[in-house]
Symmetry: C2
Subunit: 161 residues, 2 copies
């Protein structure tokens, strides 16, 4: 049986921040990545579509980078939300993060016919900046390792001139 994230931080983002191609619930064409707690770690689970290939049978590296990216910002939001005394589903709007930097080490070709699971370990490096170390598994095989530095989204971010 496929694992599923029940309470995801992305379900709680305000509509103005829910259009992301990676993790926005309102982006009709997007991936709809959803990130939640599993103990002290964060998890995101996703089954790549057949089109997301590098060569037939193996997942495209850009999809894995996207997966680690949104898992990172979602994990940072979960962590700061918890630090503020909140959990997804308690009715409080969570903080929203942007990616400052992304690093991915591709360890093994990633098979395309199994769900991917990102498992995150979170470190606060500044009250507004968090580091998320991520391992991406295909079944039990560790295929990629990632690191995201995520920063609280500036309040001016929505203002475009």
């Amino acid at each position: 049986m496929e694992e599923k994230v029940v309470k995801a931080i992305q379900d709680e983002y305000p509509d103005d921040f829910a259009s992301c191609y990676g993790c926005g619930r309102l982006n009709e064409d997007g991936h709809h990545f959803r990130t939640g707690w599993q103990g002290d770690h964060t998890v995101t689970i996703y089954s790549p579509e057949p089109k997301h290939m590098a060569i037939p049978g193996f997942v495209y590296g850009g999809l894995i980078a996207s997966f680690i990216d949104c898992h990172g910002t979602g994990s940072a939001a979960l962590a700061l939300h918890r630090k503020n005394g909140h959990e997804p589903g308690d009715g409080t709007e969570p903080p929203r993060f942007v990616t400052a930097s992304l690093h991915v080490d591709y360890l093994k070709p990633t098979p395309q016919d199994v769900p991917l699971k990102a498992v995150g370990t979170i470190h606060e490096i500044h009250p507004k900046k968090w580091k998320v170390e991520t391992e991406v598994y295909a079944d039990d095989t560790l295929c990629a390792r990632g690191e995201v530095v995520a920063a609280v989204m500036p309040s001016t971010f929505l203002k475009k001139d």
Copy 2:
């Protein structure tokens, strides 16, 4: 007038390696990134689709990571091909690379209504491993900086099991 890459390395990949969601000419749903020489630098030009948003008006970071990723492997292929005495279009099949690691620093929010241009600088760090430093511009604004370490694709890569 929008710039265009005329002779792209991805046009020369053999069919078995032309299905990549990022840069494969045979992937009907993919981005079709195309990478060519501009002097001693490599360039890839791409106009993100409206759906590729982070929030309305700004490009999704995962798309930028994908862009840098395929620009990196394409640039490494161009460089080794040139080292071997060949240029795209001369009828010789080019080498094909895979991504060992990818790093992206997001410097500024990337506006969605202009073409993106990746400009690569290539360093040979081993006969089968090349580093590609990339700057991503939206018009004249430097929005992201990336680094890809790309390795020649192992001959066993197509064999699954």
